[in-house]
Point group: C3
Chain length 271, copies 3
């Protein structure tokens, strides 16, 4: 189901401009490379418009935002919009501080996003305009379970209708939805929550996949989420602890084939 | 001896706010996770007070300090003090530049610390108010040996009496002391000095352990130091070079049990 | 041929001050350690002159430059010049934005460099004063092949004559040249391009090797390039994907002997 997506990634690799956090930035760069794209990190307001112009897509991740980089995010986002480049938003910790919540509001007002990806607490905050995310991880009270899965998918669809962006909620089970259709993606392993940056790395993979498949944003996003989860399962089987899990995750992605993903994908969709 | 400490870490995991350097921040985040806590990195002065409020403990590490982040350190430290959260100071490179030495003086004046951790040259600088640390590693002239071990432990106890903080001196042999009692910890491997960030990672482990054991700061700190050293020994036995040492170090920590640490600990204490 | 160089690295290890990007900084620090030096990262203008004074050599890498760090680069570079410390320039992405191109021009005007290292597109930009580097990777149109190899080496020699610096062009085949002589270095593996930071890590190795061999800048630089390529070959043979390639690269460097490099080196030189 995602074979075409991966073939396009190989045929027309994306150059992904990332304005992201300094915690996981190295993993993001290596994951973009492993998944077939090329990364460039640049966050000074004097150059972000020029840099984003030579790229295919843009990631805006507010993981360690500060006054200086927020301005660069807005400038780069607007320029990417003018050029029709897909822009991915990761509202890390939205709801954990008013600076984060307000920055996300400002970004949504000034920039059109192709994809918004977060955990359930972050997406709830984006949807409701306020929240109480307990750090950068989702609140347990918010956890997506089999019982409330379609309720969460419905929120994703409604946020998509509001913003025009494909909305991704990652967790034990992942959701990717546009206004009309939701994918439920069941690949992955709980141990992935024990390393930092799986979400940020996924942002980069999504940006690469969507950049190479600009007419199929929802499918490309779902393929990226699925690829990440599938690589996590394989990495889990090889690892001896959390740091080798991270290494194998990137290793497995770097040799993933369209065929293999086709066989390994655990995807359900509903209109 | 440290069993209770580790059980509390599991029962009541800490959320650790880190204002740390951009060199080792990813390893710190992954090590906090591996040792049972959750990390959040945030360093903008507009949000650090709010972020630290939702956390259990705070790490202030001046490894790549700059004018912007020093203000954030002071604000976060003061707020953590108001809330009674343990605050850990890592005076990286104190004595190597006057900016570092003066920043440490300011932090000690404006913030109360629960734990101060550094190498012997850094701790000497903190104790004496000036120093000549040759970079971020300890001076060979300062090296702690079996001969001057109790002299170093005595300095740690006196600095603890002055500051109210548990003082940790890491090196070939580690010391953790409050005003009344010093632990000498002999776990670890010399090869750990060949990777960057073992000290910074330890800051995060201490913050997690102390956050879950706020009534036993000295014991929790000693347990963290011991756990780090013990994991270093196991990692050394598995590794093929310095980068795999780092990977195994985090891997081993991610599966460390209270029982295993109990059997592996090499600890001596003296009043 | 490089045995003496490596012996000097062991006898007189360098302390390397790095003002580098936040993407690959951890790998740079660990690679400096693995190759026999000690790293210190500091980029605030209030302390860079003092920090560089206690070091042996300085790396200036503009990978994620911003207004704040550019000033620190100039200050540190000037101080290192006054003290006669070797200074290494990595003009990352020169030609990809005018900020990068202009910053490189300013640095070349205000600081004397011992070594300039970049990919072919970056070096062309430095040589010609303008360019159109497509991100942080070289343009395919610029690729160095067996056909245009001596033409590229000639450009390196001419840029060396202009600047006084040894010029390194890295790619499928590597070139290190001063005004009089060029080394062609054929070690390495194409898979090294699939991880971020091999160039930045090489900057650190060069700074360490040159710091310990200040009277033989060209040979020390060529030895560093050769060591990096040779370690890449060995790492390629051990790895299962891109992330383990990175780990093995640092692992292999951490146990590299002068003898082994002597046997593995694939070097040609021409006047």
């Amino acid at each position: 189901m995602f074979e075409d997506i991966l073939h396009n990634v190989q045929k027309q690799p994306s150059l992904v401009h990332c304005i992201t956090n300094y915690v996981t930035v190295n993993d993001v760069a290596n994951m973009v490379l492993a998944s077939g794209g090329s990364p460039i990190m640049a966050d000074d307001k004097s150059e972000v418009e020029e840099i984003t112009s030579i790229c295919t897509s843009l990631v805006i991740n507010i993981g360690t935002l500060n006054a200086r980089t927020v301005e660069a995010m807005v400038l780069a986002g607007k320029r990417a919009n003018e050029l029709g480049h897909p822009v991915i938003l990761d509202p890390v910790g939205a709801g954990a501080s008013s600076m984060r919540t307000e920055t996300v509001k400002r970004l949504l007002k000034e920039v059109r996003f192709s994809v918004i990806r977060g955990n359930i607490s972050e997406i709830k905050t984006v949807f409701e305009g306020s929240g109480a995310t307990p750090g950068v991880d989702a609140s347990e009270a918010d956890a997506v379970t089999e019982e409330n899965l379609w309720e969460a998918a419905d929120m994703a669809k409604r946020l998509s209708a509001q913003t025009g962006a494909v909305v991704v909620i990652t967790g034990a089970t992942d959701i990717a939805a546009d206004e009309h259709k939701a994918f439920i993606l069941r690949n992955g392993d709980p141990m992935m929550a024990k390393i930092t940056g799986t979400g940020c790395m996924l942002d980069g993979v999504i940006a690469g996949f969507v950049g190479s498949n600009q007419d199929k944003v929802l499918e490309a996003t779902a393929a990226a989420v699925c690829a990440m989860g599938y690589c996590g399962e394989k990495a889990r089987a090889k690892c001896e602890g959390t740091s080798s899990l991270r290494m194998h995750l990137i290793d497995v992605m770097s040799s993933l084939t369209a065929d293999e993903l086709e066989r390994g994908a655990d995807v359900e969709s509903r209109i």
